[in-house]
Subunit: 478 residues, 2 copies
């Protein structure tokens, strides 16, 4: 019996255990989903603390040394698997997840309370788990923790050394992450990060994400009159901040759908011809992607396909506007100020700080007399791309192919995962981005769901990836 056959036997008993123990695993997931850990809204602060403690408890219960580490924002959860000292140095991976979730609003569109998780029969996907965070990221995170638990319960050890970092501010720009990595970098630095916050290519095709857009946030507030004004008594001569704001927002794009901020495209690096060719082999269906959300025509930059727009073109999006009267009925008011929340998706070459500076100059040039502007919640992360020929990347691809019966798609992702950029820039550590979400999981929207099958096969996939990564013999320590 060679090592690979031994591994296979060891793996199979882990997979069997996952199947037997799944009811308990789902109970653990539901307990976590019931905690309304919305990081962006201070009203949920205590729930974020509760979610952190819950995660630490789950890790301890799995044999990790785990602790909750306070930050200036939401606490971090850190866990380490420390087996017996191995005969030779073992590869160490750092698994990353986040226990915080997006705000659940609008409540009235949920078919069940967002923090009362339940099984729902879905016509396309069979049983699905409906709850805020079911997919992003509590469900995804638990696929890994359950895989580790099954390895430990079955064999008393894991195939390689594993540390875990679970943060609580991923949905609100991760303000505490930089300082935390600076302070705890030596403890956390590993050979590779495993990040489970991405989607499959489709319900039957796993994916490894090798490219991620970056992100820059800005909340802009335009002020005019010193107080709210009656639109009859003052309307005409009085400056209306909502009108100034609309003028700024409308000027963000030109008639071709390009962002009109001077300097915005200056430094971008386009994907290589080979990358573009790879994307074309994926058979992406523009019409069905748009049709699934009620749209029919790509609304982005003219001259670029949908996949190219998503994976390689930057954007400027308005995420929210608040100003004047928003209640039922009418109110004839000219508000003293108006606010918009913006986010810019970035591609390789763009520096978030420079993009925000360009935006500020652009706004300054548009401001009329008596209008003042201020900015809040500004934060950002650069876009990233990975080496798809590295041994851990190839090992993970083998594991996924064994579970799913087909090779994973090597894809980009339009969304940002700031942690990935931080791991690279602060710890010099690459990430393997593997997740089992589906595009129709309704993350960030009402009725977020995670397929039961995603949970089951996600945990099995991680059990296999742990085995494959443990079997790589090329450990290089610097």
């Amino acid at each position: 019996m060679n090592r690979s056959q031994a591994s296979n036997g060891a793996l199979q008993s882990v997979l069997d255990r996952l199947a037997r123990e799944e009811p308990r695993a789902l109970e653990r997931l539901f307990r976590l989903l019931a905690i309304p850990s919305v990081s962006t809204d201070p009203a949920y602060h205590q729930s974020c603390l509760d979610a952190a403690e819950c995660c630490a408890g789950l890790l301890r219960d799995t044999g990790f040394e785990a602790r909750v580490v306070p930050t200036r924002g939401k606490p971090m959860v850190v866990g380490h698997w420390r087996g017996a000292p191995p005969a030779k140095p073992r590869r160490r991976v750092l698994f990353y997840g986040h226990y915080d979730v997006q705000p659940p609003e609008p409540f009235e569109e949920w078919i069940a309370p967002p923090f009362d998780p339940r099984f729902v029969d879905d016509p396309h996907h069979g049983t699905v788990i409906v709850a805020r965070g079911a997919s992003d990221d509590k469900g995804q995170m638990m696929t890994f923790i359950e895989a580790a638990r099954a390895w430990r319960d079955e064999h008393g050890t894991l195939p390689l050394d594993v540390s875990v970092l679970i943060e609580g501010e991923e949905e609100s720009g991760s303000p505490s992450l930089g300082p935390f990595l600076a302070a705890h970098g030596a403890e956390l630095k590993s050979d590779l990060a495993l990040v489970c916050d991405t989607a499959q290519w489709d319900a039957d095709t796993p994916a490894i994400t090798a490219f991620l857009r970056g992100l820059a946030f800005s909340e802009i507030t335009v002020s005019g009159p010193s107080r709210d004004l009656h639109s009859g008594v003052y309307g005409g001569p009085a400056l209306n901040p909502l009108r100034v704001l609309a003028d700024i927002l409308a000027a963000l794009h030109d008639g071709e759908g390009r962002v009109a901020i001077p300097g915005f495209y200056d430094d971008i690096r386009a994907p290589s011809p080979a990358e573009l060719a790879g994307w074309r082999t994926l058979g992406f269906d523009d019409a069905s992607f748009l049709g699934s959300v009620g749209l029919s025509k790509p609304a982005g930059e003219k001259g670029f396909g949908v996949l190219e727009q998503l994976w390689s073109r930057p954007t400027a999006e308005i995420n929210g506007i608040v100003g004047g009267y928003g209640g039922p009925g009418t109110k004839t008011v000219i508000p003293a100020q108006a606010t918009a929340k913006l986010s810019f998706r970035l591609v390789p070459g763009q520096d978030p700080r420079k993009i925000l500076s360009c935006f500020h100059r652009f706004v300054a040039d548009l401001l009329p007399a008596d209008a003042k502007v201020s900015y809040a919640h500004e934060a950002g992360s650069q876009a990233v791309g990975f080496d798809t020929g590295a041994p851990p990347f190839l090992a993970a691809a083998r594991a996924l192919e064994a579970e799913w019966g087909k090779a994973p798609a090597i894809v980009g992702c339009g969304a940002s995962i700031p942690i990935v950029e931080s791991f690279r820039s602060r710890l010099g550590m690459d990430s393997l981005l593997i997740g089992f979400a589906l595009d129709d999981d309704r993350i960030h929207a009402p009725n977020e769901k995670y397929n039961l099958r995603s949970f089951t096969k996600g945990a099995r996939s991680w059990a296999r990836i742990l085995a494959e990564l443990g079997a790589i013999d090329d450990v290089v320590r610097t």
Copy 2:
């Protein structure tokens, strides 16, 4: 002793009684101010009913036959003074007021709870009454009712026949008013309406308002994707309704500050050279008007002065925008829809229905593929102007000059009072627009106030106006 001397003696004892009884009058006003009768928000519906009953009680207590009449919205309060049958036909006036108020939001900017009225020492105005509705319109309305009460208490009768109509939807477009006037027109039609919902020229100069802008409301909702989308997963190719809305709102005006909706200015009648000349004699101070609300430059149509913009030029104003995430922090969402509340101020010649049609066509021409639009809360009223040489107008001017020691300013008003247009179009009845509010009363804004002096001299002014109107001998009944 001639009739005029008798009237003067009768009037003086009424004025003396108003002075003696003022503490009780203020108690009655505070009772009414404590009722949060916000008509535009269904959450306050019961309070609107309470305010109607309170008004009816105040009228009965003053000797009126009064009743609360249900409508499909907020009820109307109707009262009639019926003295002994006079020797000859008496002039009848219909006093109009409204018991509903604007929403109090934002609460956090109030120095005291908006429905807990209190006296506050103001550096400019001495004692002021701070509460939502203190000026608009509960305080103003009570100046008239207290004047009538003093006449009745002092002389057992009023100088002329008086009916009262108090509505509860003035701040939300008066949807029930038209049907109500159609059903009760015969009961309400009088020789003249008295409307107390306007301001003085300044703290020492009373005013009669002879010109009012009209108003057209629209709430526009732009829809795009079938659900809220993640701005990373969909951003670029997905249509963002907030961006479509911003484009529409920014297109409402051209670079000269003119409304860019085709047809908007087609039918307007400019003020006469004599009217414009009269306005110029008022010595209006543009810089101080704007400076009092933190502004320095007129933001309206180029080529028109501030007073001309306010009294004779139409506007398109954004009163509120709601779309996407509006809570604390950030949320990377592309919302399924976005809404703006708009109001158009109209001048003579403009038809609200035609203006809204022009707006709808304008929007339709701007809509990109996949964007849908819907409208709500559409309502409107035409602008109005009155004959400043009619005997009741001149009688009221004499009464005001007697109280204030100077002739009233004959002014326009940028705000709309739909009832005035309805009285003219439905009942063929002109209105005398006299009010004692001041431009700095912060109506529709936090910390609305009414000067105690406005209340005191307002009631005295109405006592005098009732006397002067009663003394006119030219009663013409049709």
